[in-house]
Amino acid sequence: MTQISVRVDGASYSDDVEPRTLLVHYLREQLGKVGTVVGCDTSNCGACTVHLDGEAVKSCTVFAVQADGSEVTTIEGIASNGTLHPMQKAFHEMHGLQCGFCTPGMIMASIDLVNDNPDPTEDEVREGIEGNLCRCTGYQNIVRAVQQAAAEMSGRSSDTLGVRS
């Protein structure tokens, strides 16, 4: 067992973990952060995406011990004071989810994408989220959602939505 200290969604945790424990299993099983889910075992699907010190990571490819001393943000920590994050709002507005299983990871990956590229084209969104699989939506509404959220996050008018391609 190894002791780690980690801040998750603004709260501090100190725990003993097996060295082999993946970050996603630590989040789900030890912290009860079940908003983050596991969709595969080969790091292809991205359902487990969280932010580690502000950058999107697939939490199935990170050991919990690697997060020691770090700040983790999950889907459960991005709304503030009951106000949805613009990316959450946009997924809802644009119908960017159906079963919703990929959604936490998709939203976390998309926020990171927009942080890097505040005004992505349709192709840039598609390339930017290709590490996250969705089986329900065919992605079109996810792309629209990311572009809408990008506009809101950078304070641009959403009138220009959909014209960049």
């Binding site: 292809n44 159906q98 919703g100 299983f101 699989l133 969705c134 792309v143």
Partner: protein, 831 residues
Amino acid sequence: MTVVEEPTTADAPQKEIGKARRRKEDARLITGRTTWTDNMVLPGMLHIAVVRSPVAHAKITEVDVSAAQQAPNVIAVFTGQDFKEEQGSIPCAWPVTPDMVNPGHPSVAVDEVNHVGEAVAVIVARSKTAAQDAVELVDVDYDLLPPVLDMEQAVAQDAHLCHDHIESNESFNFVFDAGDAGTGANTDQAFADADVVVSRRFVQQRLIPAFMEPRSVVVQPQGDNYTLWSSTQVPHILRLMLAMVTGTPEHKLRVIAPDVGGGFGGKLQVTPEEVITLLVARRLGKPVKWTETRSESLMSAHHGRDQIQYIDIAADREGNIKGLRCRILADMGAYLRLVSPGVPILGAFMYVGIYKFPAYRFECRGIFTNKVPTDAYRGAGRPEATFAVERIMDELAVELGMDPLELRRKNWINAEEFPFTTAAGLEYDSGDYEAATQQALQLLGYDELREEQRQRRESNDPVQLGIGFSTFTEMCGLAPSRVLGSLSYGAGGWENASIRMLPTGKVEVVTGSTPHGQGHETAWSQLVADQLGVPFEDVEVLHGDTSISPRGLDTYGSRSLVVGGAAVMKAAEKVVAKARRVAAHLLEASEDDLEFAGGSFSVRGTPGTGVSIQEIALATFAAHNWPDGMEPSIDAEATFDPVNFSYPHGTHICAMEVDTETGLVKIRKYASVDDVGVIVNPLIVEGQVHGGLAQGIAQALYEEAVYDADGNLTTGTFVDYLVPSAADLPHFDTGNTVHAAPGNPIGAKGVGEAGCIASTPAVVNAALDAVRHLGVSDILMPLTPERVWRAIHQGGDGGDRATAGTIAWGGASTETTTGVSTDESSLGGDR
């Protein structure tokens, strides 16, 4: 009782039906406040890991669990021997012929294994990791048997047997002959008299539903009662079947499908793992959880498609179609699961598509192989049928030198001919194929793309362009119970709903149709808001728990809105009828003098008087001032059983770029116009079409479950099984025409499977249209760059590669047998 002002027309609430309501479901899904089955934690819960067979076909000679039993934190280890008296057989609810052979399907293999991934032992431990660690410690001795992997070899004489206790590898031979059924002319005669016969062998490769949420089961025993949570599409069917299989009395078993992360038919099942988890909980008296890994899911959850289709079409030289003959080999895999045999039979009635074939004959043989069983996957039989007819129409057009759309137009059912009974005996309800096609051509920008295609041909551009059509229909709204009965299905096709009016005027709607991403909570709220005149926000939809929603037949076959939504409408009608009687009492008027609008009853011609249905709900709760002889309740329940299927249709057109130097195909543009009847929520409908398109295109371009020569699934992870990403799919241009379905009170036809059924042949037809002038007449799916390149540069269908001979399509290359239809050619004799 307050009397409210009767709302003026201007203030009347806008109709909910047709409104692009944002989904109620989203709130919990976008914030991570969900209840996936795997999230469940119960005190003292134990965890299951399943030991699975690494070989495709073998006798089990010994299972040594002693080391596993002694591993730290392992509570128990069970084998097939331990469970054989109580595990029964995984049920097959669809004996498609009276003499169908069912070899039986143990949840845990007892003395033989029949596919890689079959359960052979079960570890129960205090933690998931402890259970998984102990899997390695179970020592199983296998006496290997030759695996049966190729359907065409499996039906040959002297083939190895998949199950040595049955006589052959054939489970059933189902025949539908329109001549015999009286729905069409004699097929043999039609072919004998025809000017032109085109025969093709098409391969529907094996696919994996690949829902994003891995399956998970939790069972909590409480005395002699069991609560089972499962990531299932079918909690009601599961409860009944688990009771029958395990002997746990039905009334002692409660099944809950909490949030379910996609299904696509893949969770329309009674799985070995559900049986195992229940049996372990029953044995140990402790709560137990099983959650699969993705690799387990791909190798043990049922697969879909996997058919070989030998299709013959007959026509005259002018392009009037005369007959269609379909012989199908359908791979059941190693066992029959819930509706394995029924899947190809659902297709049996759709091969004629939208066309007026005078003669039609369908034969399907269900074949056992040493692979995971096949069963429902989005479309279930209808994508295969649609592919066959839409591909063979293109082949016939080529043979006749006709435009493929012109050939279709010449033979499809015209708008004024509805209702139309096809040679398959189905009565198509409504539609206008020409209108949908015209709209799709405009969406695509057809003329410009045809012109570009011509230019690329002329300039010998390395990137060629093709345009492919799919003018399709499907049967949805599963299903009229009597029709299911005539097809020997083991259950009905009705759906149930009830409406509970709460004292505060809020409304609980209980539906038997269990969603897993479709948005029932939103759409059903829209239905009820309109019917009862209550605010959308005041409606709560309850589902997916056999204690809360005791009667239902769940979600599959594009049935939810068409059948389940119709039940909701019927229940709402009954609520209004009961409330009317109360209103008459309260308003001291005759029921006949009342009108109901905007949620209020008022006396006709007496503005200012009125009582709302939400006020009546409170009056009902109090029951102080109540009509004589009436029970104090306005709640209602309804069960809806359709008399016919509904028939969505549409025209899908794909424009495809094919790089002749690399074999890479790229969808340039995709336009689809679907007629799904009346649209309750356009946002949800569009989303369903998008998702269906993605899966249908994925069959054409990316996905295939591949087994090697030993029967190992070589596409057992998402590294190898190519579920497309956003970068792999195009933008879709979608549209609708609306012809109401006459068979249900909503007028909806169903939308869940449309995109998946229609798109695959459009994509393949487009790719072939791009390279046909280079001598290519078929390319096996999925259209990988290698296959496309080989088809262009080496001839044949590009299917020959390292795994040839081990999967359904073997190494066969389809050659044209136009004009000749012998038994041999129509059975794929060109091999």
